[in-house]
């Protein structure tokens, strides 16, 4: 059943450019996918490590800006991917060392401050970032000779990256390291007493998050062929955080659903309603009221309740008294 659903989802996603009904919708699907990679990356910190970040658009932007400047410097696409990801990882390491001096609200505030510094550089350091005008690039890459210029081919490439990202998240979550990360979220003191190096575990989680943020940032650059301070702004960080929280943090599909919600509201709803931000806000309020754990876990909970109501009532067996079983 599970594999069937997975196969159906893969088939639908794989053939999307054939049935989506136009370039416009294919492009929206591409945006959803790379924002989903971004949200999955943030989920590593927010969901699994319990460290809320408001500065991840900074890392996202560092990947995009580095990629753009390297490309305009005449480097090949492979060099750009490696260079941009290396720069993002280095920045993530630096951010982590600074931000991990605190946890909880301290961590939030430090990431917020760092994100704003990156935004300041993007906006004001004109010789490096071209300021408010942003940086354009001349085209999408052609890995192995395959052009990504058309919306459909870019979509398929993005889908491939997205599938690798979500599969790697699934492996991470079930792994011993994933359990270590969640343990430091739930009981950091106890984890230290059990022999875990809590700081290093959080640092590595930050790097993992930084890596996929960099990948998402590069995809963003290739999609738009342009990056400006807007991509690095606090609004962008908050939007990505909302994707994770609205979809359901610490779940695999939650960030994906959240990314879909935000991108669709931004692109589709804004075509019909001028005050689309208001609609998005109303949806978030509804999520907080009805499914505070996020759309995906909330839907699972409501769905199983509906199923239980549909079935004939069976008197629940009394749970066996454990004290009895022992003796």
């Amino acid at each position: 059943m599970r594999y069937l659903a997975l196969a159906a989802a893969l088939l639908l996603l794989g053939t999307l450019p054939l049935w989506a009904g136009g370039i416009y919708y294919v492009n929206i699907a591409s945006q959803i996918l790379f924002y989903a990679v971004f949200a999955l990356a943030i989920n590593v910190l927010v969901g699994y490590a319990g460290l809320v970040t408001l500065g991840h658009a900074g890392l996202f932007g560092i990947a995009a800006y580095t990629g753009a400047q390297l490309l305009n410097g005449g480097h090949g696409h492979a060099a750009i991917a490696v260079g941009a990801l290396a720069a993002t990882l280095a920045a993530a390491a630096l951010f982590a060392v600074l931000a991990l001096r605190g946890t909880g609200i301290g961590f939030v505030m430090i990431t917020l401050a760092i994100g704003q510094i990156v935004w300041g550089v993007a906006y004001r350091w004109i010789s490096l970032t071209n300021g408010d005008n942003g940086v354009s690039i001349s085209g999408r890459p052609s890995p192995l000779g395959l052009s990504l210029a058309s919306p459909a081919s870019f979509y398929w490439a993005t889908l491939g990256v997205f599938l690798v990202a979500i599969a790697s998240m699934a492996v991470f979550v079930a792994s011993p390291f994933g359990a270590s990360v969640r343990g430091t979220r739930d009981q950091p003191r106890r984890m230290a007493a059990l022999g875990y190096h809590v700081w290093l575990i959080r640092f590595l989680a930050f790097l993992l998050s930084g890596f996929w943020t960099g990948v998402a940032g590069l995809l963003y650059l290739y999609y738009n062929q342009f990056v400006s301070p807007q991509a690095v702004s606090l609004t962008a960080s908050a939007e990505a955080l909302l994707m994770v929280i609205s979809g359901g943090s610490a779940t695999l599909l939650g960030p994906v659903a959240g990314a879909a919600l935000v991108v669709i509201m931004k692109s589709v709803a804004s075509a019909y309603i001028e005050r689309w931000n208001f609609v998005l806000g109303a949806i978030f309020v509804a999520i907080v009221i009805f499914v505070p754990e996020g759309m995906v876990p909330g839907a699972v909970r409501l769905g199983s309740r509906a199923l239980a109501l549909g079935r004939p009532r069976v008197p629940a067996a009394l749970p066996a008294a454990d004290g009895e079983a022992r003796r």
């Binding site: 011993p176 270590s180 984890m191 022999g195």
Partner: protein, 245 residues
């Protein structure tokens, strides 16, 4: 060689001197009971020994190795395990996962991002054994949140024992338990093999007396009386501090 040697250990929080130049020597295999009224600094002493707190002054040695500057997480690898007075477990995980996490903490596997944790037989099998040892194997797959307080207390002990510690620190293992549960836990603690040195803090002296060979009485951060069970119980200072006589 002593299992644990604490020398002139001092810790204050602001102006409050919580541990005032404590000296404590525990021999290998010993069963030591630390008693004292509320606020005597018993748990702080444990936190200093496990490295959760840094002392202002003094030294701590584990089997003659100075660990005063060793970070807390590494002390677990050197053979110190502890239980907590206020239970700090992972409520959303199963009992088996709780104990597995305890074993994983000492395994290099904890850095592995690719393996499947629930398929690691060399962690899961000993974790089941540790649960069996405290009589909870039938609840192994139940989430911790659905177990009783007494059962959680035994999970705490299972997690500590699973790590095969050289030095086990039990922080009020009987607190909040019913008479029956106390008996179970006492039996469990008594059955710990002699290659484990056990130091127990207990507020309630009645239960713990049977367990102790030597007793240390802490009062206002200082060691007031120390010696064999009978001598300490009979000591006038103990009577004065503890029984208010």
């Amino acid at each position: 060689m002593s299992a644990l040697a604490v020398r002139s250990l001092t810790k204050s929080f602001g102006g409050l001197l919580v541990t005032a130049s404590v000296d404590l020597t525990v021999e290998p295999g010993e069963r030591r009971l630390i008693i004292g009224p509320n606020g005597a600094g018993k748990t702080t002493l444990f936190n200093l020994i496990t490295g959760e707190l840094r002392p202002d002054r003094g030294a701590i040695a584990l089997f003659d190795r100075d660990i005063t500057r060793v970070p807390g997480w590494r002390r677990a690898h050197l053979g110190i395990s502890r239980t907590y007075q206020i239970i700090t477990l992972f409520p959303n995980e199963t009992l088996l996962r709780n104990v597995t996490l305890s074993l994983l903490g000492l395994s290099p596997l904890r850095w592995n991002p690719l393996a499947r944790l629930d398929r690691q037989a060399r962690l899961v099998t000993p974790a089941r054994e540790a649960l069996a040892r405290v009589g909870l194997e039938h609840l192994a797959d139940r989430p911790l949140a659905q177990t009783s307080y007494g059962e959680r207390r035994r999970v705490e002990i299972a997690m500590a024992l699973a790590q095969r510690p050289k030095l086990l620190l039990l922080d009020e293992p009987f607190a909040g338990l019913s008479v029956e549960e106390r008996r179970d836990v006492l039996q469990l603690v008594t059955s710990i093999p002699r290659d484990v040195t056990v130091v127990m803090i207990e507020h309630d002296m009645d239960v713990a007396l049977d367990f102790a060979e030597r007793i240390t009485v802490l009062h206002l951060g200082q060691v007031v009386v120390e010696g064999d069970r009978g001598a300490v119980v009979a000591h006038p200072r103990t009577q004065e501090i503890y029984f208010g006589a």
